[in-house]
């Protein structure tokens, strides 16, 4: 066979084999979801930007200034865990552990978990955590430094689904004779049609607030800058032209997050929600959630239980086996009749080669060899769930 014959055969084969290959069902949706749940750009540019009024009009720039900066909790109380056992003595730790558990016992897909990790990492960066480590498995774990926002703030931001709706508030119903109020941290008192959600948003970033940002600092006003897609930009433009001075609600995970007032018509699709000041921390939570974006479907409704630190969990285990050596330990999850639990696994004793076994969906534990034991400690409470002889 000469080169030309081989080339012709190759061409015919490749065209026959690949020209009409059917596209897998779900690929488009997977790609779209992947993109929609990507971290949004973060731009911490603290230089105040000044433009003359005339220029701003020429540029058709409109500004929305938040009328209310209050932002409440998105997350209800953590369900109580099992009954407490004696807690170990306090141990000074240089880091904090958080684990995000999927909402159901089913194991999320690798792609979904990867996307969720990206979303949550972007939220943590937006909260100011410059460096941290993350790990996969059935749950997604993060190890953060002790600096920065409190545990409660981190858990709320990690647990938020990130679903966002821009909802007009009819002036006849709200904040006046209508008697209805949009209360931050609460659902709206009645269903209101949203103008758009993530499907109308092209990107979200954080910047310095235009007004009052001459002295950047931790409490300086910040702006959540939302760039709308063309259809949403048109809808928002049409609405704001006719409703200057009225309020609308930004609803996150079904609860009112902020209630800005419309100060000007916004026809360019560039929306700036200004907040901060005394409520900078709460506004920062909202900004972090929006910058990170929407969690993939399999992770919506994720749980972020309080996790005791590793040293404390090990210390708890050692109260049962005070003379044992800790061979290894790690954070994982397990399903049982109480649902999904974040647990520390701790292998005590022994140093011979040993095999690993599945302890939970997506997680593996390597038990100690003969003579050793595995102690499973519920991370939320420090309760010892299981003490198993190694096989």
């Amino acid at each position: 066979m000469n080169d030309r014959e081989l080339e012709l055969r190759l061409q015919a084969h490749l065209h026959r084999r690949f020209d009409d290959a059917p596209i897998p069902a779900g690929l488009e949706a997977a790609v779209l979801q992947g993109i929609q749940t990507q971290p949004r750009r973060i731009a911490f540019d603290l230089r105040p930007r000044r433009l003359a009024l005339g220029w701003s009009l020429v540029a058709a720039v409109a500004v929305v200034v938040a009328g209310s900066f209050l932002y409440g909790s998105f997350h209800g109380p953590i369900p109580p865990g099992a009954s407490a056992t004696p807690r170990p003595s306090a141990t000074v730790s240089t880091s904090r552990d958080f684990i995000v558990l999927p909402p159901t016992a089913s194991v999320p897909s690798k792609a979904s978990s990867s996307l969720a990790t990206d979303v949550l990492s972007a939220r943590l960066r937006a909260l100011g955590f410059g460096t941290f480590t993350s790990g996969g498995g059935f749950g997604i774990s993060f190890q953060l430094g002790n600096e920065g926002p409190s545990d409660a703030v981190v858990r709320r931001v990690l647990a938020a689904t990130g679903d966002v709706q821009f909802v007009p508030l009819p002036p006849d119903d709200y904040f006046g004779d209508g008697g209805l109020e949009a209360t931050v941290g609460q659902p709206l008192p009645k269903d209101e049609p949203a103008l758009f959600g993530w499907e109308g948003i092209a990107s979200v970033s954080i910047g310095a607030a235009a007004q009052g940002a001459e002295t950047p600092g931790p409490s300086a006003p910040q702006a959540i800058e939302v760039t709308l897609k063309p259809a949403a930009a048109r809808a928002f433009g049409d609405y704001t032209v006719a409703h200057i001075g009225e309020y609308f609600a930004v609803v996150v995970d079904g609860k009112v997050a902020v209630v800005p007032v419309i100060q000007a018509a916004i026809s360019g699709g560039e929306v700036s929600i200004v907040g901060g000041g005394d409520d900078a921390a709460a506004f920062g939570e909202l900004a972090a959630i929006l910058v990170g974006g929407l969690l993939p479907e399999e992770w919506r409704g994720a749980k972020v239980p309080q996790v005791v630190d590793q040293e404390a969990a090990v210390a708890t285990a050692l109260t049962f086996y005070p003379t044992a050596d800790v061979e290894s330990a790690g954070l994982t999850t397990r399903e049982d009749e109480h649902g999904t639990r974040a647990i520390w696994w701790i292998v005590l004793g022994g140093d011979l080669p040993h095999s690993c076994r599945a302890l939970a969906p997506g997680a593996t534990v390597c038990p100690a060899p003969e003579g050793g034991i595995v102690v499973v400690v519920e991370a939320e409470t420090g309760v010892v769930l299981d003490i198993e002889p190694a096989n």
């Binding site: 061409q11 490749l14 690949f18 897998p24 992947g34 993109i35 720039v61 792609a111 990107s203 897609k229």
Partner: protein, 170 residues
């Protein structure tokens, strides 16, 4: 008066990716010769394109820009694949001696293509399936035209050797 930042409007990369999804999947499948890996490659390339969307100023350049990202993704996957071994159990009762010879079939050519390394397989697919010129391939892959020619020459020689070796075994 101070105003909020106004950013330059970017091309809608998500829409552009979706418009080319079918072509992208088929290209990845032709390079990788594996449906599942092709899906992974398209998804990864789409996310990479989204993350780098600032680099795309002109939507007219999207096709070449995205194809380069996708081809690079396929190359990475092929190189990673070399470090792993897929083990699949044969059907119960399967006797290799009973397996029919596959000479002269598409499977024979598939095996020969699969034996090519990533760089050679990519130029073969772009030349003989996409029917691109050497210069076009060079621009899209980011290598000199002379390198494309030598890779095509070496790939054809390798394909012929593999096909002939298969015939001798049968």
């Amino acid at each position: 008066m101070e105003v909020a930042v106004v950013s330059e409007r970017q091309p809608d990369v998500a829409a552009l990716v979706l418009n080319r999804l079918a072509d992208s999947y088929r290209l990845a499948r032709a390079i990788l010769l594996d449906d599942t890996e092709a899906e992974d490659a398209v998804q990864e390339a789409s996310l990479a394109a989204w993350r780098r969307r600032d680099a795309l100023r002109d939507p007219d350049r999207f096709e070449a820009w995205f194809e380069r990202i996708l081809v690079n993704q396929c190359r990475d996957q092929l190189r990673r694949r070399k470090r792993t071994v897929k083990v699949t159990a044969p059907p119960i009762g399967f006797d290799p001696a009973d397996a029919p010879p596959e000479t002269g079939t598409d499977a024979e050519l598939d095996r020969a293509l699969a034996a090519l390394d990533a760089d050679h397989r990519i130029v073969v697919v772009m030349r003989y399936w996409q029917d691109r010129t050497v210069e076009d391939i060079a621009g899209r892959v980011g290598i000199p035209a002379g390198t494309v020619k030598s890779r095509l020459h070496n790939a054809l020689r390798s394909l012929r050797t593999t096909l002939e070796a298969g015939r001798e075994r049968s």
